[in-house]
Symmetry: C2
Subunit: 382 residues, 2 copies
Amino acid sequence: MKIPFNKPYISPKEEEYIIRALKSQRHSGNNAFGQKAISFMKDKYGFNEIFLTPSCTSAMEMGALLAGIKPGDEVILPSYTFSSTVNSVVIFGAKPVFCEIEPNTLNIDVSMIESLITPRTKMIIPIDYAGISCEIEEIMKIADKNNIIVMQDCAQSFGGYFNGKPNGSIPHLAAFSFHETKNMNAGGEGGGLVVNVPEWHQKAYFMQEKGTDRRLVLDGVKSKYSWVEKGSSYLLSDLLAAGLLAQLEGEEEIISKRRLVTDAYCQLFNSFKKRGNLNIYISEDHIKTNHHAFWVVFDEADNRRRFIERLRAFDIFVYIGYMPLHSSPMGVKFGYKPDSLPITEEISKKVVRLPFYAGMADDGLIYTIERMSLVLNEIYGK
Amino acid sequence: MKIPFNKPYISPKEEEYIIRALKSQRHSGNNAFGQKAISFMKDKYGFNEIFLTPSCTSAMEMGALLAGIKPGDEVILPSYTFSSTVNSVVIFGAKPVFCEIEPNTLNIDVSMIESLITPRTKMIIPIDYAGISCEIEEIMKIADKNNIIVMQDCAQSFGGYFNGKPNGSIPHLAAFSFHETKNMNAGGEGGGLVVNVPEWHQKAYFMQEKGTDRRLVLDGVKSKYSWVEKGSSYLLSDLLAAGLLAQLEGEEEIISKRRLVTDAYCQLFNSFKKRGNLNIYISEDHIKTNHHAFWVVFDEADNRRRFIERLRAFDIFVYIGYMPLHSSPMGVKFGYKPDSLPITEEISKKVVRLPFYAGMADDGLIYTIERMSLVLNEIYGK
């Protein structure tokens, strides 16, 4: 039996919706299914406004453009994240300022943020690793005090909550991923940008539509549209929005399947926690996970290696996670060295991400747990 | 009967391919259908390399990033084009330098380009208006002499030829649109970037994949990928690539239907050309059209207005075309005035684009021609 790291979930109504979108012959961006998906999300999650985009990366670029990121600006973000978090501002000339992570969530260490703020700091981009929200309310307090924009990278955390509020509803800007690898996917690729500042909405409409005021023409305010802003084509095909809508409607089903995976991993790893001196996430009352992922920080890099290799022999695909950005070739160009962020560097050498997808609950979870138990017993003794 | 300005064509195999892509559960970018579509295009059109992207806009942004466009660079382009042509370099800080168009094609006036070149000129972006190639070989000569990169905006011209060579195969970079409004569409939204400079390929792979060297991992050269470049997520969902492949396979059918539309418009407008002093494109031997669009420049703006209004009364949707970029709010910010480019300004007030889609050949073309003939007789007398 082969257990891939990820396998996208296909919703029952997905095929039907996608074909309806195709046959409508109006399947470019912001058409019928896109509008439905947007309404659904605004009603259910209370986003002030959300734009569907081709990817989370492009959502973050749109956010960076909206925030006016320009050469010379500094942006604070964790080094332990995907390259898109940083590239979304680096392509516009910003300088990344990397922050350490804290060990319970592997999210940005909020206690270090203020020491990194300079007069050039324009933005903070915290991420919600593995679907667990960062300490967004504390980050917003720091940002407001220092007049800094917060764009939350919620690539992994759609459908989770912080203090009872849906992820993405608290910061100025938030970006979601609906990629094949995420809880809910939009036909393989897709993203969304939440804009919670009402004064930015009109500019965002213009930026999404190639920098034109086409929106005013659609609203009947103007008769012809022209070039009024910087912008791009931050639009999601209606075929992909149709796929997303089917998944949004099936969220409860998806989450309940994924919860079983979390529960099984928790049970297994808790029983090895002391013996192996393993670090796994200890849940906190104010954060509700969306059951996106499960990670384990091993006691030693060598035990991680053994764990990965032994499971690979069972055809179970475990993943090492991110290479820290600060010590990557690009990070080094920005003046960082591996030991600039020792906690991140250390954790990244010991962490694994486990296979995690909705379908595992139906097929493969027991096989996976049994094999992992066997391997952990080999490593740490019975 | 209602004749919209555009109606996307759905290919016979499109639904089947899209559902196959969905059910593969590997439908993110650069998967099976994307690879097939890329091979198909490289074999048929001789592109050195082509990358499928979420839109033509994002293809051009990828091209701009690949060419190293940065603040202070100047880019020469026609003012008579869509906002994406200019935004793709303006978002990276470049200054647009607008060039006039010549009246037979409404493409960039090549004879004016050299007078606009300065030591800061980094790129020329000619467009192929209405699917008719610009004078790309002459532009390449000027560019090579001055060490300038050419990115051809082939948004409208996929499938056409210049001197027997497929559009997109001649310049350093070329961008295609597979949007709903184009001859061949990729599930509503899509684009492609041709990279004809082999030395740029590796960098392009990295930039398409969020600035990581994931490509080297897929090729077995490295075991883990990291952040090595600027980049974005310039990837087209495999669902959309599946739609595109179906359309590519049906190109002959699509073109033959569209040719009937060109022929009918040519016949009609040629018979009014002298009477109305109308300007329509006179075909040239070295250029083969892809039958994307048909435009007419009227003798007077007022006759254009009458033509549009009278046809609207018959439910036929004729479109005014582009608002020139140089005289738009953003163009003015860059220091231009309407009379900075008098030819462009004049033509833009008199030009119309006619309804044009493959399905017209089956239904609506005769109705459209009859009503247009009626209206032209009203305007210019029998």
